[in-house]
């Protein structure tokens, strides 16, 4: 993994996922170290994403590294019309590693082709967000003790949600059973179902949330957004159907944990927060350890 960019979750093999998770668990036990001392990480956020940026910056800070960068394109030379290539080539001179978020799809891949330092894709439009996927894997492994043979219910926007697509691809190495719970308009795209068929992985599709989570080990919630619907009436019909409420969790498995990439709006009722099965805030904390593992691996320090 040394000096290799992380643009897409497919850039890593199953063994490499497991290695990242092993190192992340090490950092969790001992999160304050000076392993990044003397290193500079650039965080280039061409569009704002406070949560992701803070998570990376927290990881670098705990490990004694320094951060340069910008938080949105309006405060950078991009506003003056500088090309992405020029920005990346320049910042390569100032840093050991670049973390970038960009609204255009494929931007991180392109940056990785021109850059002399490794690139971490922190989201390129609707395309990829691999560090989110690795922290999801870490959260699943931590809460279940394994990644193998789990039943995972994915809920909400399965059509456009890049996090569920990446998680599906990554989990496909570990013999999961998927339950896809979504409105008809936001069903899991055929290409992913064909992929699962080709690997012999079981999945079922449902419209109803409450009835189909009883045998799940993981519920992965995502938000159903109004703007995804051509017909506003259709949105009104389903908007409250995919909201997880505390009483729905009665009779679910003891080891069930609820994940959400955050930010949450209303798709998980706040009455779930006190339930021990709610895991989304710990999941965000796991993101810091996962990112520590990814960055130190990339720099050849672990």
């Amino acid at each position: 993994m040394k000096n290799r960019s992380l643009v897409s979750i497919d850039d890593y093999t199953k063994e490499e996922y497991l290695e990242i998770l092993r190192v992340a668990a090490e950092f969790e036990k001992n999160p304050v170290q000076n392993i990044l001392e003397g290193r500079v990480v650039a965080t280039l956020f061409f569009e704002p994403s406070t949560r992701t940026r803070l998570s990376f910056e927290s990881a670098v800070n705990y490990l004694g590294g320094r951060i340069i960068g910008f938080t949105d394109a309006s405060s950078s030379s991009v506003k003056k019309g500088e090309s992405l290539k020029d920005t990346i080539l320049t910042v390569c001179n100032y840093s050991d590693l670049i973390v970038m978020r960009h609204p255009l799809e494929g931007s991180a891949k392109y940056a990785s082709e021109v850059a002399s330092v490794p690139i971490i894709n922190a989201g390129d439009g609707a395309n990829q967000h691999p560090t989110q996927c690795l922290l999801d894997l870490f959260s699943i492994q931590k809460t279940q003790g394994t990644l193998e043979n789990l039943t995972i219910s994915m809920v909400g926007d399965l059509k456009y949600g890049r996090t569920v697509h990446s998680l599906l691809m990554a989990m496909s190495h570990f013999n999961p059973t998927f339950k896809f719970i979504s409105p008809v308009e936001l069903k899991m795209p055929d290409e992913y179902k064909m992929f699962l068929d080709s690997k012999g992985i079981k999945y079922e599709e449902y419209l109803d949330l409450a009835e189909n989570i009883k045998d799940s080990d993981i519920i992965y919630m995502t938000r159903v957004q109004r703007e995804r619907f051509a017909d506003p009436l259709e949105y009104e019909k389903v908007k409250n159907v995919y909201v997880l409420k505390n009483d729905m969790l009665e009779g679910t498995k003891d080891n069930l944990r609820i994940l959400h990439p955050l930010p949450r709006v209303n798709e998980i009722d706040t009455d779930v927060d006190g339930n021990e099965k709610a895991y989304y805030f710990q999941q965000a904390q796991n993101g810091v350890y996962a990112r520590m593992a990814i960055m130190t691996k990339m720099l050849g320090l672990k």
């Binding site: 897409s8 090309s83 992405l84 290539k85 960009h102 609204p103 255009l104 799809e105 494929g106 931007s107 891949k109 392109y110 390129d124 439009g125 609707a126 395309n127 990829q128």
Partner: protein, 155 residues
């Protein structure tokens, strides 16, 4: 019939005959090869000829025009079974079948408006997917698929 075909092919002294183009792709091939912009070369074309392989096929004959590999790749995207005959002094001196390339660089545009290649000066790169003659392109950058109906060739 065979004699008539031979006669029409030999109607050019030097040049290229592109055969086995699906009938409905004739004008696409003319356009992507820039044949509509030629000012000197004599060109004849015909369409809706009967063909065992397509039902209906088209044929193009261009005088004093010889194509390059990048042109072959372009033709293959819209007419993956096309054949090119190189004519010199009325004789077919070479025959080429186009081969659908595995990868194309700087030939087509990505149909995804949010793809980085549509906003920065980047040579596009696609993996070519060939589903029994139905060509689609997977973008190396945004990973989105551009299907044949939305394919736009960079000239």
């Amino acid at each position: 019939m065979a004699e008539k075909k031979k006669l029409s092919v030999s109607a050019i002294t030097n040049g290229t005959v592109i055969d086995h183009i699906p009938a409905n792709k004739l004008f696409t091939v003319i356009s992507i090869l820039g044949l509509d912009k030629l000012s000197e070369n004599r060109m004849t074309f015909g369409t809706n000829f009967r063909s065992d392989r397509f039902g209906r096929k088209a044929i193009i004959k261009v005088s004093k025009k010889f194509f390059e590999q990048s042109d072959f790749d372009k033709i293959a995207l819209v007419a993956p079974k096309a054949k090119l005959n190189i004519i010199k002094e009325y004789e077919v001196v070479e025959k080429w079948e186009v081969k659908v390339p595995e990868e194309i660089i700087a030939i087509a545009k990505c149909m995804n408006p949010k793809c980085v290649t549509n906003h920065e000066a980047i040579a596009t790169k696609f993996k070519v997917l060939n589903d029994d003659g139905k060509i689609s392109l997977k973008c190396n950058y945004c990973q989105k698929i551009t299907t044949q109906e939305y394919m736009e060739i960079i000239k």
